[in-house]
Each structure stands twice: as C-alpha cells, then as structure tokens.
C-alpha cells in the first residue's frame, strides 16, 4: 500500500494508537495512568500558576518520546480523560514539542 505522502491521508483503523493526549478538564487526578505506564512516560506535575486556582492538583504530563503506544493509560482511565489519538506523524525538529501538557484548553 503506497500513498503520496503529505498529499494523501494515511488510512488508519479504528484501534490505531497514536500519541496519547490528556483532556485536563475531564482529569480527576487519580494517578492511575502514571502508575500503569510501563515506560514512565507520564509524570504528575502542577499546571502553570495562572491556572492553579481552577486546577489545584497534579496532573499527568505526556512525554511522547518515552511512549511505547501500548494504550494501557487509555484502558485504565476511569473517566476517559487520556486518549490515544490518531496523531501518527511524530517526526519533528523540536523534540521538546513532544512533551505535552497539562494545559487547559482555554489557555490557547
């Protein structure tokens, strides 16, 4: 199966596991995803100070560089806050960009 890269989309099946992403608004800060991660790709940290009134606890930060895309965090999350996205093109010139969150959506 060949595609014209960047001009055609890659057909991904429903269960495909790309980079994990945290939805901070849903997160209950239980820490189960951090405990189950085999590669310690998730770490609990505080959010930026300006958002700490709304999000006072520690929340997982996703380091995609350490991730093995097993999807255990998605399976164990009781509220569905962390999900494996269909984000597949992860090559980047800025590796720091692969360490994401926790940031609320309205921060942008």
């Amino acid at each position: 199966m060949n595609i014209r890269f960047e001009y055609e989309a890659i057909a991904l099946p429903e269960r495909y596991r790309g980079a994990p992403q945290l939805n901070l608004e849903q997160c209950i800060s239980c820490g189960l995803c951090v405990a189950i991660c085999p590669n310690k790709a998730l770490k609990r940290i505080l959010v930026d100070q300006e958002f700490q009134t709304n999000f006072p606890f520690t929340y997982p930060r996703v380091n995609v560089r350490k991730c093995c895309f097993c999807g255990l965090c998605q399976d164990i999350c009781p509220v569905g806050a962390i999900r494996m996205t269909k984000h597949v093109l992860l090559a980047t010139k800025e590796p720091a960009g692969l360490i994401t969150g926790p940031t609320p959506k309205y921060a942008d």
Binding site: E14, R15, R17, I36, C70, L72, D75
Partner: protein, 376 residues
C-alpha cells in the same frame, strides 16, 4: 588442530578469517566469524553483538499487565506467541480461567503470527539466495496479515500485549471473522504464488546443504521446524497441548532429509497447516466474553507464590518462560528460554563446519534464527 585455536585471529595460521556480519547482504544484525581455507569453512564462531536488552531483569520490577506489553519485544517476528507464553505462565501461577472465545482468539492470532513469521522468513531466504522476486512477493503478502493485525490489535508489528493474562485485550472488531477468513485465503494464495520461486531458486540452492542428522539434532538441542526436518515429530501443540489445540484436527509436517531444503519445506507446509487451524477456529467461534475480570488485572495484583514452566510452540521452535514468584506484584525471576540460542550457537556452528563459504547464508537462513530472541 584444536578448534579453539582456530577461532583466534592470527596471521600465522593458514587460512583466512572472515566476518559475516550485517554488511553482507544475506545476513541480519549479528555476525559469524569464519576461518576459511580454499573456500571451505574450518571453524565458526557466532558473535551476537550488541543485542542485549535486559528483558529478564526488566520483568522483575513490572506488574503483570506491563510485562504482557514487554513480552512483545522478545521476538519481533512472532510477538503473539511470546505474549501467549507469558499469559500461560501467569495463569498457571494464579489459576485464572480464560473464556472459550478468548482461547479461540488467542489461537487464531498465534497461528496468524506463525504464518506471518514464516512468510517473512521466506522473503529473506529468497533475498539471500538472490531471488529478489520472492522477497517482494513475501513482503506483499505479509502486509495483508499486518493490516489485519492493525485492525485487531491496533499495532502492525507489536500488538502491545494483545494476548494478556486472563484472555485477550480486545474482541475482534465488527466483521472481524470475515477479515480473518480473507487473510487465511491470502496466506493459501501465497503458497501457490511462490511455487515457481521454490522450484527455480530455493530447491537448487538449498538441497543437500547443512545436513543435520537425527541424533545430532537431539544432542544439540534443536526444536521446532529444525528438529522436525530431521525426522522427529515433536511439537508442543501435540505433545503438551495448551489452550484448545487438542480439540483441533491438524498434522505436524515432518521431513526425513535433515538438509536446508527440508527445513524450508517444513515451514512452507506449516503455513498450510496453520491456515487449516485458523479455518477450523473461525468455524467454531461463538460470541461471548473474551477476557476474565476485564479490569482487575490491570492494577498491580500479587502473583501467588510458586514456580512454573510454561511452554508453547513459537514459529521457530519451543519457547518457554520459567517464572518464580515470591508473592509480590512482580515475578521474582523469569527466565526466558527461546529456541534461537540453541539454533544459533550449537546447531549453526555444527552445520557450518566443512561448509562452502558460498552456502553460509543459505544454511543460516534455513535455521530461521531471530537474533533479538538469542540475547534477551
């Protein structure tokens, strides 16, 4: 001259030292040091290289479900069978029962993984024999199976612990049985497509090479297709049935010659037998649960104290895990016994003695060694 002296690289001795390593087109990611005189190999010394991953140690501080993900990495060509061995070990220690549909799904994926591994092996064998069309055909047909793996488990090569203790992580998607049936048809079509390659490229270049006699095969610890090609009917699926293999009707291909061609043909026949097994399972499968206790095993659970030796038939031979638990949430020790260490060190060394240097790649690939499984 003693063999140990030959292995030392010294300019005074007669003969030349060669290193067959990844720079050679027919070799994978490890090397073999050869002592060659007039094109004949006098002695060989396999060199594993830098493949050590420390998987056995890593397993000692990971929970059950984390280890299930880790066992993919033991052998990347055949991850489902290694998942299955780990799951068997934990289930025997903990006494977990697996639902019937879960067992059937495990067997289907394990057999499809075996087919996929043999197809890939055939491709690389043809490439090393100079028949590139065989390689391209094999990669095309392997891709059909990888597409199915991606639909079922979400990963093309690594299933991320699809076969986990207690069952499987996910049921087949909607219409999954039909897709499995299509994949089996494609595997059988592959057997028809490669017939000319076998007749014109594989058979003339492998017949009579690297003969492994019956006694030597037992003495050197060969298992799987290598042992069966030497005339010994030995298969864990028949000898010590796990899952529901005892309820299925299938044959164990055995060849008497013991040469490289016999080892190739045993694997080619195994593809047909595995396809037969898959077809029977798809007919027998009924809807139901696929996993016992869907979530509880995800949390760190204590493994009951005890020792277990769980073994399964992987694509390359008998794979096993010896696991000892002291009652903690991680196994105290898990020793992985793959078939490839025996095939690489004693068997390959035995077969290369006296072989022509032209035939080294063919003899090596007839054994189908997975270097990553040699050094865990």
């Amino acid at each position: 001259m003693p063999k140990s002296e030959l292995l030392q690289i010294s300019p005074d001795q007669e003969g030349n030292n060669y290193l067959f390593d990844p720079t050679h087109s027919g070799f994978p990611n490890f090397g073999v040091k050869l002592k060659v005189v007039n094109g004949t190999v006098l002695a060989s010394n396999p060199d594993i290289g830098y493949l050590h991953k420390g998987l056995e140690k890593l397993m000692e501080y990971r929970t059950v479900i984390q280890n299930a993900v880790l066992t993919d990495r033991i052998c990347m060509f055949d991850p489902y069978n290694w998942n299955l061995i780990h799951a068997e070990a934990i289930e025997q220690l903990s006494g977990i029962e697996v639902p019937e549909r879960g067992k059937y799904l495990r067997m289907v994926m394990a057999e499809l993984s075996r087919i996929q591994s043999h197809i890939l092996w055939f491709g690389v064998l043809s490439l090393s024999l100079g028949a590139e069309s065989g390689f391209q055909t094999a990669m095309t047909y392997r891709d059909f199976l990888l597409n199915l793996f991606e639909v079922v488990s979400g990963g093309r090569v690594y299933p991320a612990g699809y076969i986990c203790p207690g069952g499987v992580r996910w049921d087949l998607p909607v219409g999954g049985e039909a897709q499995v049936a299509i994949a089996i048809d494609q595997a059988e079509e592959f057997l028809q497509v490669i017939k000319p390659t076998i007749e014109q490229a594989v058979a003339p270049k492998t017949t009579g090479l690297g003969i492994l006699l019956k006694d030597n095969a037992i003495k050197l610890g060969a298992t799987g297709p290598v042992l069966r090609a030497s005339g010994i009917q030995s298969d864990v699926r028949k000898d010590d049935p796990y899952e529901l293999y005892d309820q299925l009707d299938f044959e164990i291909p055995v060849m008497q010659a013991g040469d490289a061609y016999a080892r190739c043909m045993v694997r080619i026949q195994e593809i047909a037998e595995s396809a037969k097994i898959c077809r029977q399972i798809v007919d027998k499968m009924t809807p139901g649960e696929v996993k016992n206790s869907p979530t509880s095993l995800n949390y760190p659970v204590n493994i009951p104290p005890g020792e277990v030796y769980a073994r399964c038939e992987t694509a390359r031979g008998e794979g096993a895990i010896y696991m000892k638990s002291n009652g903690g949430w991680a196994p105290y020790r898990s020793k992985i016994r793959g078939p490839d260490l025996q095939h690489m060190l004693p068997v390959l060394g035995h077969l290369l003695d006296g072989a022509k240097i032209d035939n080294v790649a063919a003899i090596y690939w007839s054994l189908d060694i997975c270097p990553t499984s040699v050094e865990r």
